[in-house]
Symmetry: C2
Subunit: 616 residues, 2 copies
């Protein structure tokens, strides 16, 4: 089938043929797999046939082409449709299509970037649209690029608040390169959605967010075509709410309940009803030449702090971020409306063009970061560590996307003091260690924080920096090297009886405790475990061999933090050196940091007492 450019008159029959092919292939893929979501694919077949044939600009031979449009399936379960589109575009063959959901096939149940034309993993609903905001921000604000971001959304996922964070942000940022196509097929997994085919409520809300909105019949090819034309011409982000039938094209399943997420009972009959197997091929329009763009950088000196000076590591993060922003023009920063607390405002002051204020919408902040990194930007997203928990599902999915995502959480632990427990990250080490291939760093002084921020920049993957609210003495000389996966033995003698392992604020308590213990004739080794994941097992095992007891001290719950990390190392090595884990074990309240550290038993006095107990 010849290319149908947008200039040509709409060929209704031809488009219908293509849409039917997408339906047939969706049915076939799910039938071959014995699972999947063919009905959720069939509802959007007309929408996607028109898009692929007449609007999308994409070079499937060169997915790295920076001028390509982006096509994000926010309703990732419609993967049979996406893969059928790939076949129609000639990107995969029919044989591969039928490997859908097989072990080892890149055509997984939900799309992931293992497929070169997929930007990000979807399948946790409500994520594709917010992530696309980041892609659109890259195109609009950083690259002045011409590409469009086409996002196929489901209606069920409009119940996720993250979708409305995205509508809000796109409107606020004037992202006229965004087109959201909502496949309103009325039926969720277990029954009707809240609004069924009443698209007016959503349209009113999107319009109030500053979007151009249209409500159409999603099976009317002319209406679809007209909607896309208008969306492209809009001076704002465009949303098309398309009323469709789930399973459309096959009477046995069309708009029927209990047809979600399963292959059709009678695929052969369905294929016949749809007009049989086809193998039409569409020549997708090529993108224009990529436009060059320039990023201005402001020189910023590497921050350096004097040993003994009192500096909060959150401040060092801000300084370091500003510095690496001058080293590397791909570095961008995102804030959750707390930039004057995390100190990402220091980056903003130097590199305002690469700073993104995402307001109090942590899901959107992390999602935008994931979107930005699809275009090779290096995003640092920061908020209070406690509030990053709001975006945990987005971080989880970012790992499936193999994203290059740098996170910083400030105000961790009880040591933040008077603001109280709602503001204290006490579970961040545990939750962010439990992310595939993540790096978890927890600097103990400002110069080390600078070095670790630069290490995060250089590291490709998901990394997390845990920073402290309180100012603590600088321990290390500027420029001292600290690597991901390392540790630093900050105090040691030939006579050490006990090893104290801390990081962040507790390292300072360990140092004070060691002084108290020295007064009692007990020499203590101190390890700064600034890299909690990956962990320096050698240093821990050496300490286990050379000292009689190990204590870990952390401003975090006992579960999943430094103590358990060390326990894992010791137990796997069958070490008989006893471990004592000091951590926060009671619900904290408000108060001065010192009182809260004391109440949790993780201050110097608590450590000293625990050492004496451990050594009997």
């Amino acid at each position: 089938m010849a290319q149908a450019s947008a200039e040509e008159t709409l060929n209704r029959e031809q488009l219908h043929e293509l849409a039917q092919q997408l339906r047939v292939d969706s049915v076939r893929a799910a039938a071959a797999a014995g699972s999947g979501h063919p009905t959720s694919s069939m509802s959007a077949a007309d929408l996607m046939a028109v898009l692929l044939t007449r609007y999308l600009h994409y070079d499937f031979d060169a997915p790295q082409n920076r001028a390509n449009d982006h096509l994000v399936f926010s309703k990732g379960h419609a993967s049979p449709l996406l893969y059928s589109l790939y076949k129609m575009a000639g990107a995969i063959d029919d044989e591969e299509l039928l490997t859908f959901r097989e072990f080892g096939s890149r055509l997984q149940g939900h799309p992931t970037p293992e497929i070169p034309w997929v930007d990000v993993a979807t399948g946790s609903l409500g994520q594709g649209l917010p992530i696309s905001i980041g892609i659109a921000l890259a195109g609009k604000r950083l690259e002045q690029a011409d590409f469009r971001v086409w996002v196929l959304c489901g209606d069920s996922e409009l119940a996720e608040g993250s979708m409305w964070e995205a509508f809000e942000h796109a409107g606020h940022a004037g992202l006229d390169n965004m087109i959201a196509i909502v496949d309103v097929n009325r039926l969720g997994q277990r029954g009707p959605t809240m609004h069924e085919w009443d698209t007016a409520s959503w349209a009113a809300r999107a319009a109030a967010c500053g979007w151009d909105v249209q409500e159409i019949d999603g099976h009317d090819l002319e209406a679809i075509d007209a909607a896309y034309t208008r969306a492209l011409a809009a001076d704002r982000p465009a949303a098309i709410f398309a009323r469709t039938k789930k399973g459309s094209g096959v009477a046995a399943v069309a708009d029927q309940p209990n047809q979600h997420g399963k292959p059709l009972a009678e695929p052969e009959a369905a294929i016949e009803e749809l007009g049989g197997i086809r193998s039409h091929r569409v020549e997708v329009q090529s993108p224009p030449e990529p436009r060059p763009y320039e990023i201005e950088t402001t020189p910023v000196e590497r921050p350096a702090y004097e040993v003994g000076e009192k500096v909060a590591t959150r401040g060092a993060y801000g300084d370091a971020l500003a510095w690496i922003g001058s080293l590397d023009e791909r570095v961008v920063a995102l804030d959750g409306e707390v930039g004057n607390s995390t100190y990402s405002e220091r980056f903003a002051a130097k590199h305002p063009d690469r700073f993104f204020e995402m307001y109090i919408a942590e899901q959107q902040m992390v999602a935008a970061a994931v979107g930005l990194q699809t275009r090779d930007w290096k995003p640092f997203a920061s908020s209070f560590g406690a509030f990053l928990s709001r975006a945990y599902d987005f971080v989880r999915m970012a790992a499936i996307s193999d994203a290059d995502l740098k996170l910083c959480g400030s105000h961790v632990g009880v040591s933040i003091g008077p603001d109280g427990p709602s503001q204290m990250a006490l579970e961040d080490i545990a939750s962010l260690r439990a992310v595939f291939d993540s790096v978890v760093l927890y600097p103990s002084d400002a110069n080390q924080a600078v070095e670790l921020v630069e290490a995060m920049r250089a590291h490709r993957g998901i990394s997390y920096l845990r920073t402290t609210r309180e100012a603590t003495p600088v321990l290390y000389e500027p420029g001292e090297s600290f690597e991901i996966g390392g540790s630093r033995t900050v105090r040691s003698s030939g006579e050490d009886r006990v090893t104290l392992i801390g990081a962040g604020i507790t390292l300072h308590e360990c140092l004070a405790a060691a002084d108290q213990l020295a007064g009692k004739g007990i020499a203590a080794r101190i390890i700064d475990l600034y890299s909690v994941k990956p962990v320096d097992a050698d240093a821990i095992l050496t300490a286990a061999r050379e000292t009689d007891a190990i204590l870990t001290v952390e401003d975090h719950w006992a579960e999943g933090g430094i103590g358990e990390t060390v326990a894992g190392v010791l137990a796997e090595a069958a070490s008989a050196t006893p471990l004592t884990r000091l951590a926060v074990t009671d619900r904290p309240g408000s108060g001065p940091p010192k009182d809260l550290l004391r109440a949790a038993g993780i201050d110097a006095a608590g450590i000293t007492t625990a050492v004496e107990q451990a050594l009997g």
Copy 2:
């Protein structure tokens, strides 16, 4: 000051006096603490003065009175205002007010239910309104009660998607007992909000969600009064968007930047400007007599499965939930639009009045559960385990609220198979163990699951049940007892050389591995660690003493799961028995469950190989 009932004419001067007192006390509390959010309190002082004096029905001497209105500060950082209200109502004295943020004071930086008039902890923005939906659902759908839920929201927090999940759900559920008062003071923490004083966008969105909306001047006492009157009369949830000035009443800070979250620089001058210290007392109107209500229950038999029968524990969860719903009329269930996967639909079938479909809005689902438990309902909220990560911040905050919250996550681990990694919970044990005082249960068979669901019902606190998608053989007799904190040694002899510790699907792989090992002359003890937190340390340490090696096997990342739990027990006891931790260590794809378990090395063959290595 005498009681001002709603029937009386508005006494403008009197109300202004009261509002000024609230401002003064907010300034004083923050000055005494040396921290806090006085300006965020001052903006809403007029709104709250009118509410307390003329609209709220609350017996501060009897916070347990079920007819009391609810007053939720979704903008929890306005705690100085809330505590000033308590003083004005005579609930606390001036001396206590000035203990704000002191160590040991119940007047923490952000409100928590340590204070008897506080329903839930707030301070993580965007939570108070969604939680209030649960309170309103209890009143409207379960109790046919007359109370109102008054929620003071901030404008900054309207950027959180969770707020729009709440607007959507309240409209859908017709919660005419909800009144959201939005204090639109234009300034966030670090600068202006997206919409500043342009309330039209929010009002349009709330109206589209089915709310009665008003936009008013939040310092116009007559306008406030009229707005509350109209809100009470509305046949739908009511939102009042009140334009205010942050720090209103004190020229030095009113509507000024950089005045967030800090005491006033010159509190004495501010107090003078506000007219000095006052000690007016308001007699808050009493609630009406509580209305009796009845809950109908349908008898459901206790589920029981035959040993050897193949049953998925998620199915047993659904059956057990329906059963305990008949045992205990306080049990309610919430679904995130996957009730036909988690099988909470089986509860819905028997107890439709106590079933809440929350659609694909996991934050709102958990928030509503937290709201329901404030009125002594026992909520079980279930979704895919992976998607509960969406609500992690809500679970974190629920622990600060000391909430009675039961969660169930289905479809955990790689063993779900073809749907792929986006649907696999692989971090849920880690993240939910790292919640204060939580219980984490992971049943290995259907009869055990039934027992554990009943244990969760009886347990007050946050508990999590991890259920498996695949059907596995029933191991235990119906009615066998399983306690929180226990374990079950399912295979043991005097000759055990190795201990295999699993739970859920891996327990079955351990059993198969033990058979293979027996063929090689290696006797293996098997522990079913169905209670991951709290953990049965005795059983682990006994195994460490009696066998030469311990292997943990889990369908979860290595971090923070069963392996690290066991490592913690061994290391603290200084056990020299080597631990091998088998867990998922690579990013999984799609495929048959068996292939994915094999690829992760956590199937019987992988376990057997690891045992042989461990034993040398």
